[in-house]
Symmetry: C2
Subunit: 278 residues, 2 copies
């Protein structure tokens, strides 16, 4: 495995790979890798000849009061995990290498991103779109693999690919969960031991919603109340408990196939998200 820090060097490597007729799959991450990320590497391996994992905690997708400074980082551990999992190139740029001091170009999505996390994190998805476009251009990705944990992000990236004609195929891979149901997240490492039970409220809320759906419940308001109550009951501070059409991210009145059940909540200072797609 080769570790590459310079965007220009990475682009040169990618050109050379394409020149040999090989395809490139990229797995964009913010590092502090867990089995969720590594499952994306496996998927990427099946989708293309060469696997590039990008590791970059992107400052412009964090709001001023968010957790950029305390976001967990461990580049050496990440590099070892990538090497062991068969990543070919680890692209780990610096902030200065990615953003010129006078950078002045951003990509804005103005429909899907007005809902869910976008509604409570202004500027977040603009930062995501901008960095993902940069990573696509730097790695000359043919395929990009994202996790369903960030389902709204995947929908917005797909929209960006469609609307800007990026020559990249987007693959969404399933959420990987701990044995107890907690969706894997780098942010889980920030949970105090006694908060771990509380954090299970997110997956429990979604399970309760799915159970109600299985019993025949279709009323979105009822399902949202079930999710919000389940989270509050565990001691979570609910950010949202939503049922949206996954193609538009707009609230639905009745849930059914294509509905995304999505929750976000604070577990102490740590904001966690989870979802289930019907």
């Amino acid at each position: 495995m080769e570790i590459v820090e310079s965007p220009l060097a990475m682009q040169g490597i990618a050109r050379e790979i394409h020149g040999r007729g090989k395809t490139i799959a990229v797995v964009p991450t913010m590092g502090f890798l867990h089995e969720g990320h590594l499952s994306l590497v496996d998927r990427a391996r099946n989708e293309a000849d060469v696997v590039v994992l990008t590791l970059f905690v992107n400052p412009i997708q964090f709001g001023p009061n968010e957790d950029y400074a305390v976001y967990p980082r461990d580049r050496e551990r990440d590099a070892a995990l990538c090497e062991a999992r068969g990543v070919d190139y680890l692209f780990a740029p610096t902030v200065d290498g990615m953003y010129a001091p006078d950078a002045s170009v951003k990509i804005n999505e103005t429909s899907l991103s007005t809902h869910l996390c976008g509604a409570v994190r202004p500027g977040h998805f603009s930062g995501v779109c901008t960095v993902v476009a940069k990573l696509f251009n730097i790695t000359l990705a043919d395929v990009a693999v994202f996790g369903q944990k960030d389902a709204q992000q995947v929908a917005i990236v797909r929209r960006m690919v469609r609307d800007l004609n990026f020559p990249v195929r987007i693959v969404m891979a399933p959420i990987v969960r701990e044995a107890d149901g907690l969706a894997m997240s780098s942010r889980n490492t920030r949970l105090a031991p006694e908060s771990r039970e509380v954090a299970l409220g997110l997956s429990a809320a979604l399970s309760a919603a799915i159970e109600a759906y299985g019993r025949g419940e279709r009323d979105a308001a009822a399902v949202k109340a079930i999710m919000a109550d389940a989270m509050s009951a565990r001691g979570l501070k609910v950010d949202y408990a939503s049922a949206v059409d996954y193609s538009t991210m707009e609230d639905v009145d009745e849930i059914g196939p294509g509905t995304l059940l999505a929750v976000a909540a604070y577990c102490g200072p740590v904001r966690l998200i989870d979802n289930r797609l019907l």
Copy 2:
């Protein structure tokens, strides 16, 4: 020469060209081609193996009171000119082919585009950036050739390429002028015969400024007054007469190397621009 209408088909052709180890130069145009555009084709021919000219009157870069509806169009004549000049692929998509009804992603440049044409045409450069990014992604351009007539556009596209890491090299080719000095523009065909003399006020204003610079004039205010007066004297309605630093597009106090002298004016209903780079 092959005429291609579908973005997906064009992208497939471009992939196949790259697969053969050949490079692609793109010349983005809004059609109604003149010698200015065709000089860009010649330049593109020198820069890469395959030349793609794109022909698309991009609705989203026109304001509601601008000349989208009356912008001159003649696709058959354009195709004949391209064929004669040795263009390999003419990419001429439809508006529906380029923009989904629910398109929701745009690229915004927020520094260089606040000046000159950007200041008087809100949204224009966002529309330009968005369509140029699309055209880069559709044609898989290695090189893109733009004319200096739209010098601010070239600066903004270069900024976009830098900030989003597009794998595209930008070439700026000189302005081509009519024998009398008028900068070639598709919009010149909209000038009434009696307006032609008036339109010469733009190039005359720039010549007067260059002459003053040659005499030792360095004061930007004085030079701007010379340009504005020269245009008004010919009967033009001045939109701007500016002296800016070409790297930032900000007004300068003293003109010198790197200064862009830029003028915009209405000749009757037709808005024309011209510039000289010191």
